[in-house]
């Protein structure tokens, strides 16, 4: 029910974007030198001659048929633009999440074992500082050091190679973006998991397990991590929107042709239908991923759905 409401709001919002443009959408989208024929096509495509609420239904009908419109600059369909860019974003995000979880889970456990101990304090201060460093600065610093100072080729701007061409160079070209997003997520996951683990470790069933003589490692993984992983999944779910956006910034610097770079290029070229298509896709994706995570959380912790 909520999902329907959210998707409705997103669709109205994305639809209305075109009408935020100053002046007649047809003139702005096509430019002043547009031929009457091109205008007629656009009018037909967007239903511009009809009242605005009918335009929405024309637009929605098109979307539901998988038709996001045709870019008036490159003359390709918007859906094909999105389809070629999206896998790159997905690859960067998946790589970064693997790194972030691999780093956050052991460090958080380590910290939670002795809260306020030396390791916990150092990690706390480090994560607090990293929290204040935005991804667009992190990536600039990384590029300066790794690609330029150390001269490691294949990691710098416009070094992108597609996964189909050569997967090793592909990984090389995506290593800095993935590392940047991993750092941003690591900080969030570490902090959430640490505080939740500390709370869980004070529960009675942990004391019970300890008194039975179960090893520290087993208590951590089997008894404490499972209930705490709910908080971690929740954090990951909230994080996904920010990650996509951070991915945009990183792609923009390195000229990786994912959704973000494509989006900014489209904005600069005033290719508004591409912008609209990408915004719609990304928003729907974020919502869908959030709902997927809710589903997974219910599976991990049956208590939540019973409440």
């Amino acid at each position: 029910m909520l999902l329907v409401g959210i998707v409705f709001v997103i669709s109205v919002g994305s639809f209305y974007l075109i009408h935020l443009l100053p002046g007649n959408p047809a003139t702005v989208i096509l430019g002043f030198g547009a031929t009457p024929e091109a205008k007629a096509i656009l009018y037909k495509q967007l239903g511009l001659s009809k009242p605005i609420y009918l335009q929405y239904f024309v637009w929605l009908g098109n979307i539901l048929h998988g038709n996001l419109g045709v870019s008036f600059i490159s003359q390709t369909t918007v859906s094909s633009v999105v389809r070629s860019a999206l896998p790159i974003d997905a690859e960067i995000i998946i790589l970064s999440q693997i790194m972030a979880f691999a780093a956050a889970i052991p460090t958080a456990m380590r910290s939670a074992r002795k809260p306020d101990g030396i390791i916990d304090r150092v990690l706390g201060a480090t994560s607090f500082t990293l929290l204040s460093i935005p991804p667009y600065i992190l990536i600039v610093v990384l590029v300066l050091f790794i690609s330029i100072k150390l001269g490691i080729s294949g990691t710098g701007p416009s070094a992108y190679v597609s996964l189909g061409t050569d997967w090793i160079t592909n990984l090389e070209s995506l290593s800095l973006p993935a590392f940047t997003l991993a750092t941003v997520s690591f900080v969030v996951y570490y902090r959430v998991l640490r505080s939740d683990l500390i709370a869980t470790l004070q529960e009675e069933f942990i004391t019970m397990a300890r008194s039975k003589g179960i090893s520290q490692r087993r208590i951590m993984w089997r008894h404490a991590f499972r209930p705490s992983s709910v908080a971690l999944l929740g954090a990951a779910s909230v994080n996904i929107g920010g990650l996509l956006a951070a991915g945009f910034v990183v792609q923009y610097l390195l000229q990786i042709p994912g959704l973000g770079y494509t989006l900014i290029l489209a904005i600069n070229e005033s290719d508004f239908l591409v912008v609209q298509g990408i915004v719609l896709t990304v928003s729907v994706l974020v919502v869908a991923i959030n709902f997927f995570f809710d589903f997974v959380i219910n599976m991990v912790d049956p208590r939540i759905s019973r409440e």
Binding site: G5, S132, P134, V140, F248, Y252, V282
Partner: protein
């Protein structure tokens, strides 16, 4: 009269005298923020070179006596541009969060105090809005709503921050609204207005202040991202974000152009976050999920 003493008694029970001192680093952060704000306000009066004057005899000069932080690819003074650039960040940060608090905070307090239909209706709407990632929404709106101006940027980010402020303030008010002293005031026949202003507001103030500061930091980060993508104020007006964006094209020739604005932004954010965090733990309020 009696309600006053009750209130005080309640406060004494609530806050045992255990708040730890704020610490030296807290005051260093406060003075750093103060210095930045001072620079932003008095940038015209301070003896700084014009941030827009191009000097083709001194392009990409490193830091030195003549140009403290060096010059950029058009020979403009980086230090001066950073000081002027802080104006954009600070104005957007404070302006947008003021809009968010102006609308989100009263709604959040009212919803938590009244509960019932009003609360569930508003909360559902806010959750729907929160599902829409703020940065993507702002990128979308700003790319269509041209020409861009400082006012539009503040407005768009401000509106985007309303649901967040609403959620934090509502959660904070909820935890206070069921306390004995609020019930006592109700029993005594205090008006809703009085309860909201005199009982609830002072008790959520620390959390509100703390979230205000962290909110400003978040907005400045967001504005920086927009500027980096070329969606904030138009050049040549300097802002920290668009300076980093300009540095993008000359990374190899001029490291300083990327370094100094990044440093300025990071130090400002660290200081703000630290102050916000410290205020929260100083008043010993339980951590709400931001």
């Amino acid at each position: 009269m009696s309600s006053f003493s009750l209130e005080e008694a309640a406060l004494m029970v609530e806050r045992p005298e255990k708040s730890e001192p704020l610490g030296l680093f807290f005051w260093i952060c406060v003075s750093w923020i103060g210095l930045n704000v001072f620079g932003a306000i008095f940038a015209n009066v301070l003896p700084l070179p014009n941030p827009l004057t191009e000097n083709f005899n001194a392009i990409n000069v490193g830091p030195g006596l003549h140009h403290l932080f060096g010059t950029d690819d058009l020979g403009r003074d980086i230090f001066s541009r950073i000081v002027y650039g802080s104006r954009v960040s600070i104005t957007v940060g404070i302006g947008a969060i003021l809009i968010g608090f102006g609308i989100g905070a009263p709604l959040g307090m009212l919803a938590a105090y009244r509960r019932g239909r009003f609360d569930s209706f508003l909360t559902t709407i806010m959750y729907v809005l929160l599902a829409f990632p703020a940065i993507i929404a702002t990128i979308a709106v700003l790319s269509f709503w041209t020409p861009r101006s400082l006012f539009k940027i503040i407005l768009v980010i401000g509106v985007a921050s309303i649901p967040l402020v609403y959620r934090v303030i509502r959660t904070a008010t909820l935890s206070v609204a069921t306390k004995d002293y609020v019930i006592a005031a109700k029993v005594q026949g205090a008006t809703d207005r009085r309860i909201l202003m005199k009982e609830l507001l002072p008790n959520i103030a620390p959390i509100a202040v703390s979230f205000f500061l962290i909110g400003v930091a978040t907005v400045i980060t967001l504005e920086g991202a927009l500027a980096f993508l070329g969606l904030s104020v138009n050049p040549p007006t300097p802002s920290w974000g668009n300076m980093i964006n300009e540095a993008r094209t000359v990374l190899t020739e001029n490291v300083w152009l990327a370094f100094f604005p990044s440093l300025a932004l990071c130090l400002f954010l660290i200081a703000l976050n630290f102050i916000g965090d410290r205020i929260r733990s100083h008043f010993d309020v339980t951590e709400v999920k931001l």
